[in-house]
């Protein structure tokens, strides 16, 4: 029941982002969606380095993964801020 609801909210969200329509975005990404995004980030942050990249003895392993994950969150975080509450007016 809740999964189709979240999926539907995300498709609306992506539509709004693509079309620069930000009204209501903050509520589309409601508290349960925040939680979900946080959990996905946490899962990637932990499981990929500790299970998929554990024995890669190179900067191209966990070092690169954690750096890229952080940069991705920064880029999407700033984009989210810019398109929701970070208005210049």
């Amino acid at each position: 029941m809740i999964i189709p609801e979240i999926l539907s909210k995300y498709s609306n969200l992506m539509y709004n982002f693509r079309n620069h329509k930000t009204e209501g975005v903050i509520f589309l990404l409601n508290k349960f969606s925040y939680l979900l995004v946080g959990l996905v980030i946490a899962a990637l942050d932990f499981f990929v380095p500790f299970y998929a990249l554990k024995d890669v003895g190179s900067f191209l392993g966990s070092y690169l993964f954690w750096s890229v994950l952080t940069l991705t969150v920064i880029v999407f975080g700033v984009l989210y801020v810019d398109r929701t509450w970070g208005s210049k007016r």
Binding site: G57, F59, V81
Partner: protein, 488 residues
Amino acid sequence: MNSLYVWISLFSWIGVATAIAYLAKRGLGEGVTEYFLGGRRLGGFISGMTYSATTYSAFMLVGLVGLTYESGVGALGFEMTYLTFTVFLLAIFAPRFWIASNKYDFVTPAELLSTRYESKWVGVVAALVFLVMLVPYAAVQLMGIGFLVEGLTGGEIPYMAGVIVMAVFAGFSALWAGMRSVSWTDAFQALTMLTTSLFALFYLFYHFFGSPVSFFRTISLENTELLKLSWDPRLFIGLALPWAFFALTNPQVSQRMFIPDRISSLKRMIVYFSVFGFIYTIISTLFGFQAANLLPGLTNPDKAMPALLTKIPTALGLVIFIGIFAAATSTLGSVILTLSSAVSRDVAKALVPHISERNELLAGKVFIPVLLGATVLFAWLQPGLIAVLSSMASGGLLVTAPALIGAFFWKRGTGVGVLSSMVVGGVITGLMYATGYKPLGWWPSVWGLGITSLIFVTVSIFTTRPRKSEKFVESINSEVKALGAKRD
């Protein structure tokens, strides 16, 4: 390194920082908000730099370098986890904190809790949690500098001399003009931290490894084990969890969400901080790998950075030393100022509601030297490894996370729920850290967050919801929504 050079560079830098603090003081107005929040008139750049300098401390170039030296890539993961979640939390909570602080004239994060949960005791207990947990964290900054000057001069400047010089300067900059002098000097300190460390990093690349590319190649070949993730997953979670919530639970940074002059400055604060944090984390861990390759076999990993500084020319070593001193001092100054605002607003004003604004401010100012004395004492006793100690402070502060999240997202949360969760959760977490007890191998922070959340939710369900909680949550959320709608 000659101790005279260290003293000269230290006092020259303090001279420049003092001149900046003097300029900041010229614009200082009257009152508590003016003193503790710079009158909520700070622009995006100064806000971003003070956020960065407050967050990133001596831990980075002393503790994190040591942790990377000892345990490799896991240290980067731990610090990047912090940054990732800080950006995530700021994107959600920064506008809410900012709107709430402007709407209700909040000066401290504990005040936000006491207003939202309609209980002055919530604010008092939160302020006490902040005080108890942040004293060791502030002391860690002093210890970092103490170790550094001692290591750098081969003991010519004793550990306690470094500690005392730093404590006096940080106290002075906090006392002089409050948030204005602290944030202006923080901006200078942040720029010092970044430029000096970048300069030294590239010197080491070219002088010892030939180029950045050959550095990465050398480490991959000669220190392969450090690039493999050797951390125990439970240690990683235990250390990273408190830091993931740092942006909310540490009042010296969450208070900085109150200070920008407008919402666009708040956005720029997040952007500047994110960029600064990413670059500074990469630099710090690369120093750790450099030290591991150039100086293998050190028994105390916290001495890796001081030892690395002895390998570079004196002038460059001094520049880096100043960068670390700046990092530690800015964090200490901000912590001291935030804690004095907590004493002023959350204890003095809460317990004596009719206190004059002048006396309220005086209570906070008088507390600054008292607090500094306590941190110096703690640094003198030198407990534990720096990284673990820093994390313990954040681990203890984690008990405030459910209440802070609930303040904006759970109307049902009650004052009794907050009080019981912070008191019981705080005592249990503190006891676990003190005794080293880790049930099932999981760190106290993990248990602390679980227990605190459980108590907060359970007790809140069975107690009466605050009368105005719905109005508080809905008004803040609708104002955030309105900010987004303005763009269309």
